[in-house]
């Protein structure tokens, strides 16, 4: 019972409190529904702009109210947006509210309504909303115009990566409208029968003039489009920094990033705001800005750099103390004072940054291939002493400074060069020599290397050479060789001498380099050893010398194949017994000779070792020039004596002789080899001794064809396998036959000549054609028997029947042409009363010796008539005496008329006579005219071919063989 009374009391209290609250609220006037004044559309920003008022507000009454706004699309029931907008409302105030649509507002109708309520956020409980206003319609399509097609939004500016909605509005009810983004067709969705929407996600920047989007119907050439301006996203400025050089101006710099400028949007602008002073400046440049430092010595600065474009704003902040951001200007007026051979003082000036600040300067010195660094504190002027410098050396010094109290940044370097003064050369020149004897005198060729810059301490002007003869009999000699000579030839009066060489510059003389030339030629019999070169050079080693040496020296020629071999040397210490000689001049395939000398304590060099080798051996590029001799049917000899093994690109180890034959098999001493070039099989002979330069190829087949090649072989290969020489072995019997037949033929010829000469002698002696009675041995024999009755027959006692005219003349020979013009000589032997003009009984001689045409005629009648002889003369011939006289006369005439040359030929007169018998039976009566004697033609017979007459034909012809040089007619 008590419980029920308590609960009743509580209910009554609650009801009472509720009544009390309601009475308080309802005591204020409730706002009526908002009244729209204007609903407008901004196509540029795709915004709906609302203006409204709230009635029922009393004067001076001010409420914080909430307006609930609903936006529907296409139809009122399709609410797409609900938002509570809270603001303080005064009496008679026009309220504004904007809403940005993602869909271009031209693409669809939009409806807006709102209601209001007093903001009861301070008091709990539900809001008491006013009633909804009526729906306001925002329809832009009605105001588009008469075009059949529209594309929206127009010239929209978005950032790269944004999502954009495009739509087209068609008024011609065409369904086949295609839309393209930069030529690529877009796929959209239909919002209503005349409107299609295209959603573009993450649009990209294409060009500053924007992205073209266009639509066109399937038929007709109408095209509508829009340009979407896609901007790059504005980024925060990077590396924002401010510094001062003189504490009066701050220079702020930053990296602006990419430019967001478009055709429809300017590039981003930059502004600098300093919060302590509240000052702001617009920057004229995209990456830097100047800020004037406040004269009231403001130390702290808090800068905000703002980058801004149409779409976005970005800011960065920087807080710093001005004195901590001092970046001094570069030092100036850098000078060098008191420059000596080893010291120099550098001075410079700096731009002041205030009397309370000290600058820290850094000095660097470049020279001798190294860098030295020093730090110097400076107020206004700086100075630094460089010591320990090299004489005559060019140095580069540079200086930069920074705030010594609060380091921020170094200034730029300021550079200056200087050169130290010259000093006397510090080192003796490196000298070597070559000694030779010319006409009994020692001639020393001195070589020296130019001193390095560090040794010369200046420009070397000349070299002094002092020759001191060790036997003291000769006066010392002094020579001065002007630089830049690096050697000289020096004929010495005596071999034993000490030579000192000194280099001189403008300040002084270097220490002397001493060379001793000994009378003894030195140990030239050192055996040469081979050394193998490597990539690093030639490793040379030698035995340590038992006697004390001051050092060793290795000499070689860098260009051994050229006449000036470019002698090089390398000095080594007394404890060194090996070295590696390297040079850029070493070439593969070139043999280098090294001579290692020990230098005695008396400075006398003596030869220790000789080395030779190649930096890299190469295969021979040429084969020897081979001479083939002693070719027989079974062998031949090859020789290549002129082949020099020294000048080859590698050490010759021997030779290979390749022999190609058709037989295909090889004799002992050779082996079969297949040439890599043409895969030919041949026999290979091997010679292991490189100095053996002859070889006899044996066991060959007669009348066979062979090819051979001699090529050297080395450790890196053979010579080229080309140019095989060819040879064919001769017949086996031909030499023998030649050896037999040739002497036989010679002997036979000799015998024949002997026989012929003998027969001539016999004929001349025993039975000459015209015996010479005075020379006849028969007569002499008779005479010896003292037969006085026997005497030589006188010609007057003979009755001639034929006359052979002999014209003997010595020492002359008539030429052939001259004899042809000779007229024939006619002798009328028999007396006649009348002359015959026509062929008739006659006896005549006709000289046809050289008249071949005439000789062809067989009849004497064809012979032209002889010249007429005086009758008296003919008459005289009837008697033998007269005849003889006439003969003698004619004979003499003939001698007188016939040129001497005609007598040089012999001919035989042939008389065809019916009579036969010896000459003693001469016919007394002359032959009958009717029986005309016939003369055979006369033929010229060469002397050598004349043969003795045979006995059988002697009656018909008589042949006279005359001695050479004798001529008869």
């Amino acid at each position: 019972m008590a419980l029920s009374s308590v609960s009743q009391t509580a209910f009554l209290l609650a009801l009472l409190s509720l009544r009390t609250y309601q009475s308080e609220v309802l005591s204020e006037p409730l706002p009526s529904a908002p009244e729209f004044l204007k609903v407008s559309v901004n196509s540029t920003c795709q915004c709906l702009h609302l203006q409204w008022t709230v009635h029922n507000l009393s004067h001076h009454q001010e409420f914080r109210m909430v307006f609930q706004i609903e936006i529907s699309r296409i139809k009122t029931s399709n609410v797409i947006w609900v938002e509570n907008y809270t603001t303080t409302v005064k009496w008679n105030q026009v309220l504004h509210w904007s809403w940005e649509s993602k869909l271009p507002l031209e693409c669809a109708k939009h409806f807006i309504r709102m209601r209001s309520a007093v903001d009861t956020a301070k008091t709990p409980g539900p809001r008491v909303w006013s009633s909804w206003s009526s729906w306001e319609e925002a329809d832009v399509q009605n105001s588009l115009g008469q075009d059949p097609l529209f594309v929206f939004p127009k010239d929209k500016l978005v950032e790269e990566g944004s999502n954009v909605t495009i739509c087209y509005v068609s008024k011609s009810h065409q369904n086949n409208i295609s839309c393209y983004l930069e030529g690529v067709r877009m796929q959209g969705e239909q919002l209503d029968p005349n409107v299609s929407v295209f959603n573009l996600n993450h649009v990209a920047f294409i060009r500053e003039t924007g992205t073209n989007i266009y639509c066109k119907p399937g038929q007709g050439d109408r095209i509508k489009g829009t340009v979407l301006f896609v901007s790059k996203v504005l980024k925060e400025p990077k590396d924002f920094s401010c510094e001062t050089q003189d504490l009066t101006t701050l220079n702020c710099t930053w990296d602006p990033g990419s430019d967001t400028g478009l055709l429809k949007q300017l590039s981003q602008s930059y502004a600098l705001f300093e919060s302590f002073s509240g000052k702001k400046t617009l920057c004229k440049h995209k990456s830097w800005c100047l800020w004037q430092v406040a004269p009231e010595s403001q130390d702290m600065y808090n800068f905000t750099l703002t980058a801004e474009n149409y779409l976005r704003k970005r800011s960065v902040h920087l807080l710093f103390n001005l004195t901590h951001r001092v970046h001094p200007m570069a030092p100036f007026n850098v000078l060098f004072k008191n420059v000596s051979a080893t010291n120099a003082t550098m001075t410079w000036k700096v731009h002041s940054i205030g009397k309370y600040h000290t600058l820290l300067c850094q000095v660097e010195l470049y020279g001798e291939g190294k860098v030295t660094q020093h730090n110097v504190s400076v107020k206004v002027d700086g100075a630094h002493l460089f010591s320990g410098l090299e004489p005559d050396m060019e140095y580069m010094a540079q200086v930069r400074c920074a705030n010594g109290d609060h380091f921020w940044k170094w200034s730029e370097w300021t550079q200056q060069n200087f050169t130290t003064a010259e000093a006397a050369p510090s080192e003796a020149p490196d000298v070597w020599r070559n000694v030779k004897t010319v006409q009994g005198r020692c001639v020393v060729t001195l070589f020296w290397k130019p001193l390095s810059k560090l040794q010369a301490h200046g420009k070397i002007l000349f070299y002094n050479i002092v020759v001191d003869y060790l036997d003291r009999t000769s006066v010392s000699e002094l020579l001065s060789i002007p630089a830049p000579a690096n050697g000289t030839e020096l004929p010495l009066s005596q071999c034993s001498s000490q030579i000192r060489i000194m280099a001189n510059n403008s300040v002084g003389t270097s220490p002397a380099s001493v060379i001793v030339v000994s009378r003894e030629p030195g140990n030239e019999e050192v055996e040469e050893e081979r050394v193998k070169g490597t990539e690093d050079g030639f490793p040379l080693s030698w035995k340590p010398q038992p006697r004390h040496v001051t050092g060793y020296l290795v000499e070689w020629c860098e260009h051994p194949q050229d006449p000036p071999c470019d002698l090089q040397w390398k000095n080594l210490g007394p404890n060194v017994t090996s070295t590696v000689v390297s040079s850029d001049a070493f070439r593969p395939g070139v043999r280098y000779n090294f001579r290692i000398y020990g230098i005695s304590t008396e400075r006398v060099p003596y030869l220790l070792a000789r080395k030779t080798g190649y930096s890299q051996e190469l295969a021979p590029s040429d084969n020897p020039q081979v001479v083939m001799t002693n070719l027989t049917s079974h062998s031949f000899t090859l020789s290549w004596k002129n082949y020099s093994t020294e000048s080859q690109p590698s050490f010759i180890q021997g030779y290979h002789i390749y022999l190609k034959s058709k037989a295909g098999w090889c004799h002992s001493g050779s082996e079969k080899a297949v040439l890599s070039d043409d895969a030919a099989v041949c026999c290979k002979y091997k010679i292991d001794n490189p100095e053996q330069k002859t070889f006899v190829v044996e066991n060959l087949q007669p009348e066979s064809f062979y090819e051979f090649l001699v090529t050297p072989y080395t450790s890196v290969g053979e010579g080229p396998h080309d140019a095989f020489a060819k040879v064919t072995t001769p017949d086996e019997y031909s030499p023998t036959l030649i050896r037999i037949i040739l002497p036989m033929v010679f002997c036979i010829l000799l015998i024949m000549i002997t026989c012929y000469l003998k027969s001539q002698w016999m004929k001349e002696k025993c039975y000459p054609d015209i015996p010479d009675p005075y020379k006849s041995s028969v007569l002499s024999l008779i005479k010896s028997k003292e037969n006085p009755h026997l005497t030589i027959m006188n010609i007057k006692d003979c009755v001639p029947d034929s006359i052979e005219v002999l014209n003997k003349q010595e020492g002359t020979r008539k030429s052939l042409t001259e004899t042809e013009s000779t007229k024939p000589t006619y002798l009328y032997l028999l007396p006649t009363e009348k002359r015959y003009s026509s062929p008739g009984p006659c006896i005549c001689f006709e000289n046809f010796t050289y008249n071949q045409a005439a000789s062809d005629s067989a009849s004497c009648g064809h012979v032209p008539a002889p010249p007429k002889a005086p009758p008296s003369q003919l008459g005289l011939l009837t008697s033998p005496e007269n005849l003889l006289k006439a003969l003698e006369k004619n004979y003499m005439n003939s001698l007188g008329e016939i040129p001497a040359g005609e007598t040089s030929l012999n001919y035989v007169s042939q008389l065809a006579s019916p009579m036969s018998g010896d000459k003693s039976n001469l016919p007394i009566n002359p032959p009958e005219p009717a029986l005309c004697s016939e003369y055979k033609m006369q033929m010229a017979i060469p002397l050598g071919l004349a043969s003795p007459p045979s006995s059988g034909s002697s009656s018909l012809s008589s042949v006279t063989l005359l001695d050479e040089g004798e001529h008869y007619h």
Partner: protein, 237 residues
């Protein structure tokens, strides 16, 4: 020796003076021909699409399939070749001058849509060409008869006035600009042909190609004026 030298140099001196006197005595006909050839060459160059249209298409992104086909001259923007041929020489030159003024005005408007300095340089070079061309037209017009009293615009038919104020829409403005440039190059091609006809048929008695008129004008124009006008010719090459 000295007399010989004088006798040798005297004839050459006289010849030299004669040659020098030729331009002084003035053959305006030669100048007219030169001017005409100059205008022909200039028109040949200005008709090349590489001078304006192609860079514009490239910079505005109109070089896409389905888009560049719409970059065609709109009828009526520029007078046709036939319309130009129908004009007398005076009318032709006046019409040409007027059209080029319009072109210059339009190019100035197009300049706002070209952000790149390189493209702007191309545009400025084209504008200089047009100004030089206009100067030459002016010089040639001075040689025509009745050049001083005719000032009214030429009746050039449907293309009298170029397109009106460009649309504010960037895309449409871009397309219109492209079409305009296409028409400009075509127009300059027609102009070049008309000039070529003038040069090829100097004695034709057609209305627009009186060679005689040029000769008359040559006589009428004072020599000093002719000499003064010629240096004003700006050659684009």
């Amino acid at each position: 020796m000295r007399a010989q030298l004088m006798w040798r140099t005297l004839p050459s001196l006289v010849l030299g003076l004669l040659f020098l006197s030729t331009p002084v005595m003035g053959s305006c006909l030669d100048k007219d021909q030169e001017l005409l050839r100059q205008l022909q060459k200039q028109a040949d160059i200005m008709q090349r699409t590489s001078m304006l249209l192609n860079p514009y298409i490239q910079s505005q992104g109109l070089d896409k399939d389905g888009l560049k086909e719409h970059c065609r001259e709109r009828p009526g923007t520029f007078p046709s070749k036939e319309a130009l041929q129908r004009l007398s020489r005076q009318e032709f030159l006046r019409a040409l001058d007027t059209m080029l003024d319009h072109v210059l005005h339009r190019l100035k408007a197009l300049q706002r849509d070209i952000p790149k300095a390189q493209d702007l340089e191309t545009l400025n070079r084209a504008k200089q060409n047009i100004r030089g061309f206009k100067n030459n037209i002016h010089c040639l017009a001075q040689l025509l008869p009745g050049s001083s009293e005719t000032t009214e615009p030429a009746p050039i038919g449907p293309g009298t006035s170029p397109s009106p104020t460009p649309t504010p829409d960037t895309f449409q403005r871009r397309l219109e600009g492209c079409r305009f440039l296409h028409g400009y190059h075509r127009f300059m091609h027609s102009v070049g042909q008309v000039f070529r006809e003038w040069a090829e048929s100097p004695s034709r008695s057609r209305r627009h190609s009186p060679r005689r008129g040029l000769r008359k004008g040559t006589r009428r124009v004072p020599l000093s004026r002719n000499k003064r006008l010629l240096p004003r010719v700006q050659l684009p090459w």
